[in-house]
């Protein structure tokens, strides 16, 4: 079972490997470094993306109608599936939220792991701390700088216990 720390190490080494030094994290560049092409697809609104691997073919399809921060999250989420070696769960057909989260269900577990990786990649802890020290807990500034949704940023800041630390 992978942990947040493994996801963190993996995300940080990818960021370094790709030569990224500041937010927003160039997630497409990270994907390309791992051999993926990004393809924009006309998915329905509630379908964010999918990963397709077949022999040498490695692609991530993202919803072309979504805004930049959602697209970025989808790419990072799919990379999380790839790096955690998740397998073959097609069309879960379920909406995941914390209320019906079931850790014994491998699909749920995989989705959560992929989201954890996405957070580590898009909002690296070290980067956040540096920015928080520089301009404090300014959520609008942070979400713009990292090009993530406000919700993702809040979840990230609270789970790292940075929100309470930096709030006045």
């Amino acid at each position: 079972m992978s942990t947040g720390v493994n996801n963190r190490d993996q995300a940080m080494s990818l960021i370094k490997m790709t030569g990224i030094t500041h937010a927003p994290i160039d997630v497409e560049k990270v994907a390309q470094r791992l051999g993926f092409t990004i393809i924009e697809a006309d998915f329905p609104d509630n379908y964010s993306g999918e990963i397709f691997i077949e022999g040498n073919v490695k692609s991530i399809g993202i919803n072309k109608n979504h805004n930049s921060s959602r697209k970025r999250f989808s790419i990072a989420h799919e990379l999380g599936h790839y790096l955690n070696a998740h397998q073959n769960f097609d069309d879960g057909g379920e909406m995941l939220d914390d209320i019906n989260f079931d850790f014994t269900n491998p699909i749920h577990r995989q989705e959560k792991e992929a989201n954890m990786f996405a957070a580590e990649l898009l909002m690296p802890k070290d980067f956040l701390i540096k920015d928080l020290n520089e301009f404090g807990l300014d959520i609008n500034k942070l979400k713009e700088k990292y090009d993530v949704s406000e919700q993702s940023m809040w979840i990230r800041l609270t789970s790292l216990r940075l929100a309470e630390k930096y709030s006045k």
């Binding site: 006309d42 379908y47 995941l96």
Partner: protein
Amino acid sequence: MITKEELGRKIRDLRSRNNKSQGELGNYLSKSHAAISDIERGKTELSVSDLNKISQFFGVPVENLLSETTSPYYAGTISLHRADRGMSDMDKIKMQKAREEFIKKAREINQ
């Protein structure tokens, strides 16, 4: 062409990665778990209909079951599971079409 033994290993690998028992796969194929064990050890020739059912069971295209790829990914697709709830039939059709186009494009680009 993939051998029976390789195919059997692939099926066993897929099954364990998906946390399914031989009994569960057996139920789906109307076979005993012993029959599944034979398949996984390459003792049985699979029928086309069984191959189809296995591909459905794991959500993996038949051609990927039969390809000789050694990649840990048998070209299964992994989706963000935010989809489908409350999706209208129109949306489902749209999604299927968009997914097919995406996969087609992916194959073309990476040729």
